[in-house]
């Protein structure tokens, strides 16, 4: 018996005209759809996906490894949603892609790296297959307290807990929050995956289980406010957890830092360097937090903040979104988003590429290495930059 395919928004998929506005930023300077840029085929753009999904729903094309690659290489950066010219349709583009991935998950026809990712989360609770008790290791020796009713729960996430670049960033942010006198605690070994990538990759069941576990845990501990290291966590806490009964006040660390230093309450030492800032998709385009990170950077005397050609709502994704940080369906190569992005950063004349997301940090560090420009461009988290400047 043929597999019956259906997605929630199947009745509007045909409304895509494939006009291509979704491929571009608002001023059309270059293709801004990372998977289209990486693969170079229209099928890997939002319009291409939408048309293929329609063909797939109607049985004109079958589920195949290529179809799965086309779906799972989407980085869910939201550029298409921002640029699509069709109101009342554009809001559902990402839902349609996610729903289709979910169908592929149900069919069991997903790329091996996606399968491995789900398996690692299910078995180990993290994609790194590392023990749960190592989750809080990043904070050792820092004097950071376990959460016990402080103002904020500092949620670090899988990348901040296990990845080398992420851990360094978690330590910098943790130290900065402490130095600024922010009241916060962490869950340490009790922290579990937030599930953002699990959801985007279409594993609804696993996501619900993770989210419900977190919500129960947060509530039991009396968490009211969360500050996240990772914009991906911020996204899922803000946009998805409330649907499951988990309504918390969720902020990104750059917002908390911007508030803490606002009005000249805190000043930093001078740092004479030219910096360009990369907007993480889940912070910027997806949650419209553009200004706080810039406000923090501008607070450093001597720091020359310059923008890349594509920034804010037009920013170009590092390629790590949509789970690609872990699954790498989008692949490597000269046109891989991280390499494109660091070349763009270099064009500004900046010495430092500032980031506010551990996934972006890792992707762009790798991009810098792949381009062989380590001596010309340094990728640094905003907290690391502030640490270099030092509190005055």
């Amino acid at each position: 018996m043929a597999y019956v395919r259906s997605i929630e928004h199947a009745d509007i998929v045909h409304r895509c005209f494939r006009c291509g506005y979704c491929k571009f930023p608002s001023d059309y300077v270059d293709f801004n759809c990372p998977s289209h840029k990486a693969f170079g085929w229209d099928t890997f753009s939002s319009g291409g996906r939408m048309w293929l999904i329609r063909a797939w729903l109607s049985g004109e094309i079958e589920t195949s490894p290529r179809f799965a690659q086309i779906l799972f290489s989407c980085v869910a950066c939201g550029n298409c949603e921002a640029q699509c010219v069709y109101p009342r349709f554009k809001d559902f583009l990402l839902n349609i892609f996610e729903e289709t991935k979910s169908e592929l998950v149900d069919e069991g026809k997903i790329p091996p790296t996606v399968r491995d990712y789900f398996k690692a989360i299910t078995v180990n609770g993290n994609p790194y297959k590392l023990p749960q008790d190592k989750r809080g290791e990043w904070s050792e020796g820092m004097g950071i307290e376990e959460f016990s009713g402080q103002e904020y729960l500092f949620y670090v996430g899988c990348v901040g807990s296990y990845d080398e670049v992420g851990r360094e960033m978690a330590r910098s942010v943790g130290k900065l929050l402490k130095d600024l006198g922010v009241s916060f605690g962490i869950l340490g070994a009790e922290e579990t995956c937030d599930g953002n990538e699990v959801k985007v990759l279409g594993e609804k069941g696993l996501f619900t289980a993770l989210a419900e576990e977190n919500i129960i845990k947060f509530k039991a501990k009396g968490v009211k406010k969360i500050v996240t290291l990772d914009p991906h966590a911020l996204n899922v806490f803000r946009r998805e957890y409330p649907k499951l009964g988990g309504a918390f006040q969720v902020r990104h660390y750059t917002e908390v830092v911007a508030d803490a230093i606002g009005g000249g309450r805190t000043s930093f030492g001078p740092l004479k360097t030219r910096v360009t800032y990369h907007d993480p998709c889940y912070l910027g385009r997806r949650n419209l937090i553009f200004e706080p990170p810039r406000e923090v950077l501008r607070a450093v005397p001597g720091l020359d903040l310059v923008e890349m050609r594509r920034w804010a709502v037009d920013s170009f994704c590092c390629g790590g979104g949509g789970g690609n940080f872990f699954t790498d369906v989008i692949g490597t190569g000269e046109q891989s988003p991280a390499r494109v992005r660091v070349r763009e950063a270099l064009e500004t004349g900046a010495e430092v590429l500032a980031v506010a997301c551990p996934q972006c940090a890792k992707m762009l560090v790798d991009g810098v290495k792949a381009e062989g420009i380590e001596d010309r461009l340094e990728v640094m988290d905003i907290a690391q930059l502030l640490s270099r400047a030092g509190l005055a």
């Binding site: 409304r15 006009c19 059309y28 300077v29 085929w41 190569g333």
Partner: protein, 459 residues
């Protein structure tokens, strides 16, 4: 027999070739109403040399080859009617040169309109090109190959008139430069004072060669751009109004449009006028001239200027996103239009025909005519939106468009970017000796008939 896939991979690398079901399905169609035809391969070259080698292979093996930009002509011109290879040109998207003083740009054959616009804004803000209102993903090469129009067509003619040189890969695999670049490094003239060979390629819809480089005229980008709209309920007056306006020789662009939705626009004819200046004084002087030129219609109570107010940002946007949005009027993701080039004095007849067809076929219409070259002609668009999930509606749109083309030909008009059926209708009506000349050109340039076969098929 040669392994074509292997040969293509040898030329383009793995990343440049696909025969996966997904690419074949997608590149078999465009967003219009015509039926799909599957290619056997899709390729995406990055260099002229790769294009040359693919074309040479296709010619040796007698495989059809269809060049494609973004596929937004909507009339099926990139549908591989006889299978073969679809060549997606969009990876050849470099802007190679801008000659500021001579006001021209040289771009690769897959460069998008949007990318050139952004590049000029960044690096040559005093220059602009004639940007069409098609989505910005459409390519410059495709636009000139089908005699496209743009924002400066009223002043300077079809965008193909603005070509200053071409690099073309001929169907037999030679790379040929057309115009001044055939003699030296400069791209300032596509023909004069040489015999103008660009006519062997412009308007041929990719049936005589593949454009790998295009030289394009650029124009002054004035500091201020403004817009006025004149409205009349008398369609018979539209040609006279346009005549008065074109006499001014001051307007960048003139569009005459009518549409039934929203209701505020129903039963009226709107003439949108764009004008520019480097100072407020210049703009205000032009505005006064425009108003004065149409005063007689106002005095006779036959029309008046409408406040553009909230519409201004949308009207001044380039390209206008609202045009693509017409596709969603029936909540269905599609529209297609016939756009004959014709005399402005025929505007009333065409307008009535649009409404007649819309009523007959129960489809939603919109029409926007663009004045060409100071009023020598206009492109009259007969646009019908459709719901892509409604096959019967798409069929009705198809029939309405066929009938629109028949009407245009009866009126002595020339179909613009005609689909293969409209091309046949056109060729049937063509002067026999003209047809013979077309045959001679096509047979000599493309002896094996590999280039976009099914289009301009004159034999």
């Amino acid at each position: 027999m040669k392994d074509i896939l292997r040969s293509l991979v040898d030329i383009l690398g793995e990343r440049g070739v696909s025969n996966a079901a997904e690419e074949l399905w997608f590149y078999a169609r465009d967003p219009g109403v015509l039926e799909a035809h599957f290619p056997d391969y899709v390729v995406a070259p990055e260099t002229t040399e790769q294009v040359r080698q693919v074309v040479r292979l296709a010619n040796e093996e007698k495989i059809p080859i269809v060049p494609m930009g973004n596929g937004m002509a909507l009339t099926g011109l990139v549908i591989p009617l006889k299978g073969g290879i679809v060549m997606d040109m969009k990876r050849m998207n470099r802007i190679l040169e801008v000659n500021e003083k001579a006001r021209y740009a040289v771009v690769e054959g897959g460069t998008s309109q949007g990318a050139l616009k952004a590049y000029l804004q960044d690096h040559h803000p005093q220059l602009r090109h004639s940007l069409p209102d098609a989505p910005p993903t459409t390519t410059i090469a495709a636009n000139v190959s089908l005699h496209g129009q743009g924002r400066l067509t009223q002043q300077y003619g079809f965008n193909s008139d603005m070509v200053t040189g071409l690099e073309v890969v001929l169907p037999t695999g030679e790379v040929c430069k057309i115009g001044s670049p055939s003699l030296g490094p400069y791209w300032f003239s596509k023909g004069p004072t040489l015999p103008d060979l660009s006519g062997l390629f412009l308007g041929w819809l990719g049936t005589t060669g593949i454009f790998t480089k295009v030289g394009l005229k650029l124009y002054p980008n004035k500091k201020i751009r403004d817009v006025e709209i004149f409205v009349t309920d008398r369609v018979d007056l539209v040609p006279d109004i346009i005549y008065k306006l074109t006499h001014l020789e001051m307007l960048e662009d003139i569009n005459a449009w009518f549409q039934p939705r929203p209701l505020m626009f129903k039963d009226n004819y709107h003439i949108t006028m764009y004008f520019t200046g480097d100072t407020e004084e210049e703009v205000e002087f032009k505005r006064k001239m425009i108003w004065d030129s149409l005063e007689e219609f106002i005095v006779a109570k036959d029309g008046g200027f409408m406040g553009v107010g909230y519409m201004k940002p949308m009207l001044l946007e380039m390209p206008q996103r609202g045009i693509a949005a017409f596709a969603d009027v029936p909540r269905g993701g599609g529209f297609e239009y016939s756009g004959p080039i014709t005399l402005i004095e025929h505007y009333p007849d065409y307008a009535l025909k649009v409404m007649e067809l819309a009523e007959k076929y129960e489809v939603i219409y919109s029409s926007a005519a663009r004045v060409v070259s100071g009023g020598h002609s206009m492109m009259f668009s007969i646009s019908f939106a459709f719901n892509r999930a409604d096959a019967a509606m798409m069929e009705r749109v198809k029939k309405a468009l066929d009938e629109a083309t028949e009407f245009a030909l009866e009126k002595g008009g020339i179909p613009w970017k005609p689909n293969y059926k409209e091309q046949r209708m056109t060729l049937e009506k063509l002067d026999p000796n003209t047809l013979k000349l077309l045959q001679m050109v096509k047979r000599n340039l493309d002896p094996n008939g590999i280039m976009n076969p099914g289009n301009w098929e004159v034999s």
